[in-house]
C-alpha cells in the first residue's frame, strides 16, 4: 500500500505518529510564514497603499516594458546560444585537430568562468552603451558552451550503426551530421536543451548588475523612486516581480516536461533524456543521458508524492 519502499504501510500506531508529525510540521511551517508576514505587516510593508502603486498606469507600463526587455534579451540569448551550441558541438566532434582544439578550449574556458564576470567584461570592454547586446552576448557565450556539451552528449548517444550505415550509403560527413546525427540528437536532448533555456531565462536577471532595464532593474527603480507612507515599497515590488519571474520559468519548465513525456510515448528512435536543470558545468557524464531514466523523476515540476519512491533500477 505504501507509496515508497523506504517505509512500511503504516499500522495504527504509525498512523497516529505520522499524523502528529504532520500537524507539528505544518504548524511549524505555518508559524514561520505567519511570523514573517506579521513582522512585515508591523513595519507597514503590507499596507494597502504599498500595493496600490500597481494601479498606476505608469508603473504598469514600466513593468510591461521590463517584461518585454527581459524577453528580448532572452530571445537573443536563446538564438545565440543555440547557434553557438551547434557550431561548437560540431567543432568539437570535427576530424580536424585545430578546429577540435579551438572548440574544446573555448567550451572548457567559458563554462568554468562565472557568467557575471564574462558579461561584465563584455559590457565594460566592448559594448558599454549597448547593455542589452552585452547581456545577450555573455549569455550566448556561456549557454552556447553548455548547449554544445548537451548536443555532443546527444550525438554520442546515437547508435554507431546509424552513422556507419549512412557512410556506407556514400553520404558525406556534412550529410551524415545534418541528416542523420543532428536530428536524432536534438530530438532526444530537447528536454535538456529547454531546461538549459530556463537557466538562460533566469540568468537574464544578471542584466540587473550591468544596469540593463529588465525586470529586476525595473523593480529596483520602482521601489527606490516611489515613496509610500515614508517607506520604499521593496516588499510588494519584489513579490510582484518575483511572481512574474517564477511564472515564466515554470511555464518553460512545464514545456520541457511535456516534451519529455511526449517523447517517452514514442516507440521508435532513441530515448528522450529527462529535462533536468543541471546546476553547474554539465560535463557529458553529468548530463542525464537518454539511458539514465532511472535516476530521473527529478524534473522541475513533478509532484511530491509521485517522486517519493525508490525506483527499481
Amino acid at each position: 500500500m505504501s507509496a515508497s519502499v523506504l517505509y512500511d504501510a503504516p499500522g495504527p500506531k504509525a498512523v497516529v505518529r505520522n499524523r502528529i508529525y504532520a500537524v507539528v510540521g505544518s504548524l511549524a511551517i505555518v508559524a514561520l510564514i505567519a511570523v514573517s508576514v506579521m513582522r512585515l505587516a508591523d513595519k507597514g510593508h503590507l499596507a494597502p497603499e504599498m500595493w496600490d502603486i500597481f494601479n498606476y498606469a505608469g508603473i504598469r507600463q514600466n513593468i510591461a516594458d521590463a517584461v518585454l526587455a527581459t524577453l528580448k534579451a532572452f530571445g537573443l540569448a536563446a538564438v545565440g546560444s543555440l547557434v553557438l551550441g551547434v557550431l561548437l558541438a560540431v567543432g568539437r566532434l570535427s576530424d580536424h585537430k585545430p578546429v577540435r582544439w579551438v572548440a574544446t578550449t573555448f567550451i572548457e574556458l567559458f563554462r568554468s568562468l562565472p557568467l557575471l564576470i564574462t558579461i561584465y567584461a563584455i559590457w565594460v570592454g566592448f559594448l558599454t552603451d549597448y547593455s542589452m547586446w552585452a547581456l545577450a552576448a555573455g549569455l550566448s557565450v556561456y549557454n552556447g558552451c553548455v548547449q554544445a556539451e548537451v548536443l555532443r552528449a546527444g550525438i554520442n548517444s546515437v547508435p554507431k550503426g546509424q552513422s556507419e550505415a549512412a557512410y556506407a550509403l556514400g553520404m558525406s560527413k556534412t550529410q551524415v551530421m545534418t541528416t542523420v546525427l543532428m536530428p536524432q540528437a536534438i530530438r532526444s536532448m530537447l528536454p535538456t536543451i529547454i531546461s538549459q533555456l530556463v537557466v538562460t531565462l533566469k540568468d537574464t536577471s544578471l542584466g540587473f548588475i550591468i544596469l540593463y532595464p529588465e525586470l529586476l532593474q525595473t523593480a529596483r527603480l520602482i521601489a527606490s523612486n516611489t515613496q509610500v507612507n515614508g517607506q520604499y515599497p521593496y516588499v510588494s515590488t519584489i513579490v510582484v516581480i518575483g511572481t512574474i519571474y517564477i511564472a515564466m520559468c515554470l511555464l518553460l519548465s512545464a514545456l520541457a516536461t511535456w516534451i519529455e513525456k511526449r517523447g517517452r510515448r514514442a516507440k521508435t528512435g532513441i530515448k528522450v533524456a529527462p529535462g533536468v536543470q543541471t546546476a553547474g558545468i554539465p560535463t557529458v557524464e553529468d548530463i542525464p543521458g537518454p539511458g539514465a531514466g532511472g535516476a530521473g523523476g527529478a524534473g522541475p515540476t513533478d509532484g511530491g508524492a509521485a517522486g517519493a519512491g525508490v525506483t527499481k533500477d
Partner: protein, 215 residues
C-alpha cells in the same frame, strides 16, 4: 601599470572573500539539501509538499532575485543591519540547497531496492533506514553531481560581489572603475576562479577515489 601587482592586497582579500563565502554557503546548502531531501521522501505528506514546494520555488527563482529578497526583505523580518556576508551566504546556500536536494534524492533512487526492503524487514524505522542503510550508500553516487553543484556555487558567488561583498567580482568592478583595462583584469579574475574550481574538482576526485568500493 600592472593591475595585479599594484592592487595585490585587494585581490588577495577578494580571493579570500570568494573562498569563504563559497565555504560557508556550501555548508548551508549541504545541510539544508540533505534535510529537504529527507523531507521529500518522508512518510509525512505535509513535509513532502514542503520539500517539493521548496525545490520548485528555489529552482525557478533567479539567483539575483533571491539576493534582492535577502537584502531587502529578510532584514525587515529578522533584524536590520545584518552583514552582507551573512545575507549573501544564506541566499547562495538556500538557492544551492534545492540542487543538492535533487542530487541526494536521485542518489537515494539509485540504491538497490533490496537494501531498503531488507532494512525494513529487520524492523528499522524510516529514519533508521535512511540514516544507516540508504544515505551512506547513496553518498557514492551523489559525490560527482555534488562536485559540479559546488563549482556552480563558486561561480554564482560572483553575484554576491555585486551586493557589497568583498570578493573577486567586486575586485573586477573596482579595477574597471579605477580605469584599468578590462582584459588583464578579466584574465586575473578568471585565473582566481579557475584556481578555486580546480581545487574543488580535485578534492572531490580525491573523495571519490577514497569512497570507491568494489561492488
Amino acid at each position: 601599470m600592472n593591475v595585479l601587482l599594484d592592487n595585490f592586497p585587494a585581490f588577495r582579500d577578494g580571493f579570500i572573500g570568494t573562498v569563504s563565502i563559497t565555504a560557508v554557503s556550501s555548508l548551508i546548502a549541504l545541510v539544508l539539501g540533505v534535510v529537504v531531501a529527507g523531507f521529500r521522501v518522508s512518510p509525512v505528506p505535509p513535509l513532502r509538499y514542503f520539500g517539493t514546494a521548496w525545490v520548485t520555488l528555489m529552482r525557478n527563482t533567479p539567483l539575483t532575485l533571491l539576493f534582492l529578497i535577502f537584502f531587502f526583505v529578510v532584514p525587515e523580518i529578522l533584524f536590520p543591519g545584518m552583514s552582507p556576508f551573512v545575507l549573501g551566504s544564506l541566499a547562495l546556500g538556500f538557492y544551492t540547497s534545492s540542487f543538492v536536494c535533487e542530487a541526494v534524492r536521485s542518489g537515494i533512487n539509485t540504491v538497490p531496492l533490496g537494501q531498503a526492503e531488507a532494512a525494513r524487514s529487520i524492523g528499522m524505522t524510516f529514519a533508521q533506514t535512511l540514516q544507516i542503510v540508504v544515505l551512506p550508500q547513496a553518498t557514492r553516487t551523489v559525490i560527482p553531481p555534488l562536485s559540479s553543484i559546488f563549482i556552480a556555487l563558486t561561480k554564482n558567488s560572483a553575484i554576491a560581489g555585486a551586493f557589497s561583498n568583498a570578493e573577486l567580482f567586486g575586485w573586477q568592478k573596482l579595477m574597471s572603475d579605477k580605469g584599468y583595462d578590462i582584459v588583464p583584469v578579466f584574465i586575473w579574475v578568471a585565473i582566481g576562479y579557475l584556481i578555486i574550481t580546480f581545487t574543488i574538482s580535485g578534492l572531490f576526485r580525491l573523495l571519490e577515489r577514497r569512497m570507491e568500493v568494489a561492488r
